[in-house]
Amino acid sequence: MISDGVITDSEVMRREAALDRQFLTVNDLAVAFPTEDGLVRAVDGVSLSLEKGKTLAIVGESGSGKSVTAQAIMGLVNRKAAKVTGEIWLDGQELVAMPDDDVQALRGDEMAMIFQDPMSSLHPFYRIGDQIVEAIRAHRSMGRSFARREALEMLRHVGIPAVERRIDAYPHQLSGGMRQRVMIAMALINSPDLLIADEPTTALDVTVQAQIMELIQSLQAEFGTTVILITHDLGIVADVADEVAVMYGGRIVELGPTRAIYDNPEMPYTLGLLSSIPRMDRDPNKRLDPIRGNPPSPIKLPKGCVFQPRCNYFERVPGGRCFTERPELLEAELDHSVRCHIPHEERQQIANDVLHALTGGPTPL
């Protein structure tokens, strides 16, 4: 076992090899919006990496910076309105310093994104087929009729019935689930290597949610797409994600393989998140009050640990460091990093106690 921040030689070699395989690497990404009320630090020092074909889930409360992180990767953050710093490496290319035109060429081609609300995400004035054709022709010089045939094929592929008719429909003529299928078809039409799905099922009926997630997963398996899934639904995460990043106050507070996050969560905020989801194996009467208090304002973040005002354990840290010193995101176990001043073993102990109280045993996946 590796204790906080200490790394052996063989470990260094293993990591360098892993780094070579990394398809997406984000280093110290920060996005700040100057506003009339002050500087909004929406994302502050996010680092993560992801292998090709894997799925990373980003979870966290509203306003924690998930969407802004995703939009920064896509180059969708308006550079006039925000200051973006750090590095984003996608398949060997750095995106933050890249000229706008070059990022634009990658968007929709190498990397694509689908959004929460499929109604408002499609242009209300254009037929869905034309919107997909437009996506094709933005990146490939192809005749209209060829592109249309390809769009038709893709729409069929994402499970839209009677495509010959539907391809000429306007978005308002389709149901929410169908529209999200159209968005997925449009995102995947140029076979991107990276797909970012920002709460793709939140706006849909519960019955449709599972279908859309299944569709994303099966297409991912088919095309070998790397996926970043942003969601509030920790139930989905357990099923689909290889890695989980927990965000709080614009930064990642816990990062690791899905199993590690579910079995051995260490950051008090992650513990709170996990204990607030209803699960079959838990005694419903013993459900903990999720997390007291409100998320911090991104304009006035606490000086020390950003989670401190809501944390139940800051008294365990001597010298009031939780008030004065920002904890680093440090590796606690293999590939499992945590941002908290409490020592690793003590965190494990706390987690055990909390989860034990909920289930009467360790949480199975």
Binding site: L76, D100, Q104, D109, M113, F115, D117, H123, A138
Partner: protein, 330 residues
């Protein structure tokens, strides 16, 4: 769509019918003797009675109305029993004894002036208003935006008659940049036409141009925040395509509607402009007819302008249905 069209046209006809009744009743039942108003100072009891008979004012109101409507569809004859009866062909809107002219002819003489005035002002306000609005939106928060919004505020707060008088004083009287306005048809003397019209166009366009700068800017900015614009960018479309094909298409649609209606209401603003610049258009004609209590002419002008406005409404609604597919279902 066809059913919608039929419904709208039927509605339009009904509306015009009700309007004609209202106008007719209003102007004929008002206190005061319309026959007395036909001859001014030259009135003697004999002339008044003669005119009453010639105008058909001695008949019941209902008969007067049906004669009026019949005249529109089949034409009619005034002063039938006099040696020189006045034959008014369909569509006959009546006869102005005050001007000794058929109402339709008076309107037809004045209408082109107002038409050119409106078209020129419309073009100026649309081109200036929308392009400046887009420019401001694309440069939001910069000095370009602030300058344009400042101009808009000034244009917005200056009464048009004041702008008109200022322009006349400086451009025509003080600096002699333009000759005194004197209307000619653009087909007879295009240079003089432009020299005459440019100031009235500006006066008439200023308020709407100022308004459309603001409207366009806000509309475009609002659309820029919409999710489908983010989708368009996420597809990797060039910013130019995102702006023109996606943002402006959606953002300018309501502006097209507003512009169509404002064009119709421009007729109201034309009164001021025409009177300041002494243009013989519908606005001047309307003012003159009111001052002379020329009832047939007032009735005719009111109905014609109302028809134009109602028709413009219909055209705008149809246009909207063509532009925005979501409207078509209804």
């Amino acid at each position: 769509m066809a059913a919608y069209l039929v419904r709208r046209v039927v509605g339009m006809v009904v509306l015009l019918f009700l309007l004609s009744v209202t106008v007719f009743v209003l102007f004929n039942l008002l206190p005061g003797d319309p026959a007395r108003l036909t001859c001014g100072k030259a009135c003697t009891p004999q002339i008044i009675e003669a005119n009453r008979h010639r105008l058909g004012l001695d008949q019941p109101v209902l008969t007067q109305y049906t004669n009026f409507v019949k005249g529109i569809f089949f034409g009619r004859t005034f002063s039938e029993d006099s040696p020189e009866p006045i034959i008014c062909h369909a569509p006959c809107l009546g006869y102005s004894y005050n001007r000794h002219q058929q109402v339709l002819a008076a309107i037809a003489d004045a209408a082109p002036v107002t038409f050119w005035l409106a078209v020129g002002a419309f073009l100026i306000w649309i081109v200036v208003g929308i392009s400046m609005g887009i420019l401001a939106a694309l440069n939001r928060g910069s000095w370009v935006d602030r300058t344009i919004m400042g101009i808009s505020l000034i244009g917005y707060s200056m009464p048009s008659f004041f702008i008109g008088l200022l322009l006349i004083f400086f451009v025509i009287i003080r600096f002699n940049w333009l000759p005194f306005p004197s209307y000619v048809s653009p087909f007879d003397n295009p240079i003089q036409f432009l020299q005459t019209m440019i100031l009235p166009w500006i006066v008439l366009a200023v308020l709407n141009a100022a308004f459309y700068m603001r409207l366009t800017r806000n509309q475009v900015l609002e659309v820029f925040g919409d999710d489908y614009i983010r989708t368009a960018r996420a597809k990797g479309l060039p910013e130019r395509v995102v702006v023109v094909k996606h943002a402006l298409r959606a953002g300018l649609t309501p502006i097209v509607t507003a512009a169509g209606l404002d064009l119709a209401y421009l007729l109201g603003g034309a009164i001021i402009s025409e009177n300041i610049f002494n243009l013989p258009g519908l606005g001047s004609l309307a003012v003159g007819s009111v001052l002379n209590s020329d009832l047939p002419l007032i009735t005719g002008i009111t109905l014609v302008t109302a028809t134009i406005i109602i028709f413009a409404n219909l055209v705008v609604d149809l246009l909207y249905a063509v532009i925005d597919p979501r409207v078509r279902v209804g």
